[in-house]
Amino acid sequence: MGTLSVNIGGLELQNPVLTASGTFGYGEEYEDLMNVNSLGGIIVKGTTLLPREGNPGPRMAETPAGMLNAVGLQNKGVDYFIDHIYPRIAEKFSTEIIVNVAGSTVADYEKVCEKLAPLPRIRAIEVNISCPNVKQGGMAFGTTTAGAAEVTRAVRKAWPKTVIMKLSPNVTSIVDIAKAVEAEGADCVSLINTLMGMAIDVERRRPYLSTITGGLSGPAVKPVAVRMVWQVAKAVGIPVIGLGGIASTRDALEFIMAGATAIQIGTANFIDPSISEKVAKGLAEYCAANGLKSITEIRGII
């Protein structure tokens, strides 16, 4: 086991650096610009039972140290993924490929899991119960303990490998949600998904996004994300994957010290397309410089 290897609920990663769903496509979009296999893994775009065209444009607005998006789970559906995308990326990439699974109903989640389960290279799924940009399902499941528990229970039955539940920060107590999914057998939680936000084009007197509200990400949300990771990591026994505004090795260390076992890089990929590889290298350098035999030595030291 290497200095950087970590275990996220049964799945061993060569290092703690993952790319966040929806910010890294299927990895192929970045392969000209970096070595995707240098990462612990990639989490591919939110995948639903049927194809979805997502929300109309405009879907993006820049905000102070962040951005709003309103993509709304655009994807070609799980069958297309299995038939056309999976074979290509399973061939191309040796790093872990984690599929982000989304749905409008509990049955949707189950069916997507069942379809993905036979794929040998998919050893973990991240279950999205926190997308603020879809009308049905999405965040609705993630903002009550009952809803989060219900999806977890169904997915747990349909998916024999590692289940990561991705949590919404738009709640009074993310700890309660985390405990609820842990109780239903989740192997791991990842947090935070985007904060629900909004921006107005004052000149045109209308919202920037077609959906009016959207999901806020980027360095702006990092303090909220670090706080939630710290709270959840103290409260649950399963590993926590931290994300929210990570744009440097220093930021990644902040999440690890707050209690994260692994981290995801999201919006920062848009600005520096090789940032995830740089952070993986940076963590190795940090361990070497500080005499750590394992990155886990500093996990949760706050």
Binding site: D32, G54, G57, P58, R59, I271
Partner: protein, 258 residues
């Protein structure tokens, strides 16, 4: 192939009191990639600036392979672009390039008109040069609010006849590019870039007269790589990313109501 390269500002000049800036960039090391096509764009990391977070997508204004220079013509639209315009000689910028699909080469024969509005004239310069190099005789129809907003006319004149229109009548025909006599004559192919209402007006004419017409879109964009799915446009083959399927589209692909 996409690359992220560090480039150095070789020269920087502003137009119209800082409303526009022209940056000529050279790679800090090595030579420019040889595969940059007219109509493609680059993603530029904005220099330290409180108000800009994402890269700025900027169309390729010109590539001078002899001088190893990439030219970017930028309008000061917000803090990020203002910060780009304020760049000084020697400053270094991270640039991802080349991105997207550029203009198609027209079929041979017939008039080719490159129609630009405001800073939208930018990508037409390099396209004009490549057309001329390939034996075409491109004509330019360039419009702007005032004479000061008509940019780089001397450069355009190197590659073909230039027709200009200004809204205030300071230079050329008074009015919009669509009112230029050059628009009324026979046209086989139009390549167009400018504000959306102007592009729609041009597309409407092209459609009515059966002119093959491509337009370059400027949807709000984050990654520029086809990963974030933010810059989508509805087309005849679905909701697609402007950054990878465009920025140049044939008007027949678009769902524009004309």
């Amino acid at each position: 192939m996409k690359r992220e390269i560090m480039m150095r500002v070789h020269s920087a000049r502003v137009y119209n009191g800082g409303t526009y800036g022209l940056l000529k960039l050279v790679p800090v090391e090595g030579i420019l990639p040889g595969d940059i096509e007219p109509g493609q764009f680059v993603q530029v990391d904005v220099p330290d600036c409180k108000g800009a977070f994402l890269r700025r997508p900027i169309s390729v204004n010109f590539v001078d392979y002899e001088a190893n220079e990439l030219w970017l013509l930028v309008r000061a639209a917000g803090k990020g672009t203002r910060s780009l315009i304020a760049c000084v000689e020697g400053q270094q910028l991270s640039v991802i390039l080349p991105l997207g699909r550029g203009f198609s080469m027209p079929e041979k024969g017939g008039r080719v008109l490159l129609v630009g509005g405001g800073v939208g004239v930018a990508p037409l310069l390099y396209f004009g040069k490549v057309l001329k190099d390939n034996g075409y005789v491109p004509e330019f129809a360039l419009g702007a609010r005032s004479a000061g907003d008509l940019l780089m006319l001397d450069e355009f004149e190197k590659y073909g006849p230039v027709h200009v229109a200004t809204e205030n009548g300071e230079l050329g025909t008074k009015g919009f590019v669509t009112q230029l006599p050059a628009m009324a004559e026979d046209i086989a192919h139009i390549a167009c870039c400018g504000p959306t209402p102007m592009m729609k007006a041009v597309a409407k004419i092209a459609k009515a007269r059966g002119i093959n017409c491509e337009v370059s879109l400027e949807n709000a964009m984050a990654c520029g790589l086809g990963a974030c799915l933010c810059c989508v446009e509805d087309t005849d083959h679905g909701r697609v990313c402007v950054c990878t399927e465009g920025p140049v589209f044939n008007i027949n692909q678009l769902k524009w109501e004309l």
